[in-house]
Amino acid sequence: MKPQTLFEKVWNAHVVAQDEGAPAVLYIDAHLVHEVTSPQAFAMLRERGLPVRRPDRTFATMDHAIPTRDVDITLWPSDAATQVRTLRENCQDFGVTLFDIDGPVQGIVHVVGPEMGITQPGMTIVCGDSHTSTHGAFGALAFGIGTSEVGHVLATQCLLQSKPKTFAINVEGELGPGVTAKDIILAVIAKNGAAGGAGHVFEYRGSAIRSLSMANRMTICNMSIEGGARAGMIAPDETTFAYLKGRPHAPQGADWERALARWRSLASDEGATFDRQLTLNADQLQPMVTYGTNPGQGVPVTGRIPSVDELEDPAERRSLLSALDYMGLRQGQAVAGQPVDIVFIGSCTNSRIEDLRAAAAIVQGRRVAGEVWALVVPGSKAVKAQAEREGLDRIFREAGFEWRGAGCSMCLAMNDDKAGAGKYVASTSNRNFQGRQGPGARSLLMSPIMAAAAAVHGRVVDVREML
């Protein structure tokens, strides 16, 4: 048989039907739902009198619009409260498991799914959220869908999908001290462009990827969408299995052994070919910082913002000028030394326990600089509780950080965690779009340790000087 890629194996195993001239009918193993992109889909089911086909494969979280301060829901802005109430009603009426804000399990959908063991190798996973790509870290084919498609999956557990192409991202070698998974993915996007992955599914491969923890793999797969790809995948291995074992939804006993045998066969075959390839040397990577308004506009912390003369393409030039105009930055400016007003450590990219540990190690025994507003928003209640057991909350608080409840928070500024107009935010999230973190806010994306270093110095610094 022709050698197959990881993606092809998972895709082929989920094609329910494929009519001539039509996209494939693809079966979905797990469907994650959140409060912002689901109400209209449930409303469609009600209108058409349809049930949820597989409530046992559907899981709902509340994360996007909810406050991360400890406040009574009756004091919330009415629209966020309405979304929460609507999701509760929908889950109850359609028999869907809900990880409610007042329950023991709660947090950002892409943190909670893996934590609960819902995310497993070889699965197809969708959610009305583009960062569903995160789950690809387990060797799942996971991608974001729109609300119409949320409705299709609720009703039929299937989607009509055209087969994407494959794109191998090879990262070989070893990361230097202070260089992280976030820097790998920011470097990939800087090199390949914010639209470079369009129509493709990334597979991250190579020795640098294999040596990463699951949290770090999730950081990389998370930002596949920022590289223009629908999904990003990493072949499951012993690291993956060790993470999953014993999680609430992971297979148990004899089922676990059977699952392991299946999961071990998922890696891309020797000799499998990809439609495109890109290779990066991990040894040469440095901590990255974005300076613009799309995630491809990033440079090493030792680098400078490009000037238009260096760019050939008129569209790239226009993009750079409009980004710098919005960001209040100059062509040729060094990124190190840029003052920051706010530091946000959180989001589905970098809010797991490993991220918080790494940031806390930089912050320990130091103080947040002068006027900087710094906050840590753990990805889930479980992450928060674990951090508190380890005393990380104390380290952050003593340094002058705010310690919040779990949620999306300033990643998208739907709740009251908003950066003010013109403010510079050193952020561990994934999007530096205009206004993403608050109207007029200016985002500088970086790793958790780089953000922690920026908090301490009140400006962008090379964290390697603090190690």
């Binding site: 009918v25 079966y27 109400p39 209209q40 583009s130 498609e149 639209a195 998208l412 993403r436």
Partner: protein
């Protein structure tokens, strides 16, 4: 879904690349539980001045482009979030087609599911349309889906590509759900065999 067969309309030039869905509709407008009302949030950060009044600098607010049903934008249009609200905002505002050199995947799919036609044209054609529409805002453009062509008043015509299945769905106003529901027996068989 509203069928899309052909469109004869004026266009508005949005000279920007990487217009992401946070730009098309900022997150603070996503708090509704219905589809209605999204049009107000369309391009909110660009459209409204800080006092909430329309910003006369922004191209959508300029009288000569009032009533345009075609948006002409730069490459990588609709990148970012999967929010279908971006498409609902565009359609509620009155757009029926977006022309750009390239679209982000999820936005492209979402558009097709709402009768908003995404037309990918080469970079030079888009730049030419920008100049043309800037100079003559009343230029009437004809988009014919069946023929897969965009025609200008001087007879100039460019073709565009679209998946044949998606094309049929748009022409007939069919959504995916009916098709998927018709696969019920195959889905059940798959579930049985996959366990």
């Amino acid at each position: 879904m509203q069928p899309f067969t052909s469109l004869t309309a004026t266009a508005v030039p949005l000279r920007a690349e990487n217009v992401d869905t946070d730009q098309i509709i900022p997150a603070r407008y996503l708090t509704a539980v219905t589809r209605a009302g999204m049009g107000d949030g369309l391009f909110a950060a660009w459209r409204y001045a800080s006092d909430g009044a329309p910003d006369p600098e922004f191209v959508l607010n300029q009288a000569q482009h009032a009533g345009a049903e075609i948006l002409v934008a730069g490459r990588n249009f609709g990148s970012g979030s999967s929010r279908e609200h971006a498409v609902w905002a565009l359609t509620e505002y009155g757009f029926r087609a977006v022309i750009a050199p390239a679209f982000a995947d999820i936005f492209y799919n979402n558009s097709l599911k709402n009768g908003l036609l995404p037309v990918a044209l080469p970079e030079e054609q888009v730049a030419m349309l920008w100049d043309l529409v800037d100079e003559q805002p009343d230029t009437v453009i004809v988009i014919d889906l069946a023929a897969q062509t965009v025609t200008l008043p001087d007879g100039q015509q460019v073709g565009f590509a679209i998946d044949p299945y998606r094309k049929t769905c748009l022409l007939d106003g069919l959504d995916d759900l009916g098709y998927l529901l018709s696969k019920g027996p195959q889905i059940a068989a798959y579930e049985q065999q996959a366990g």
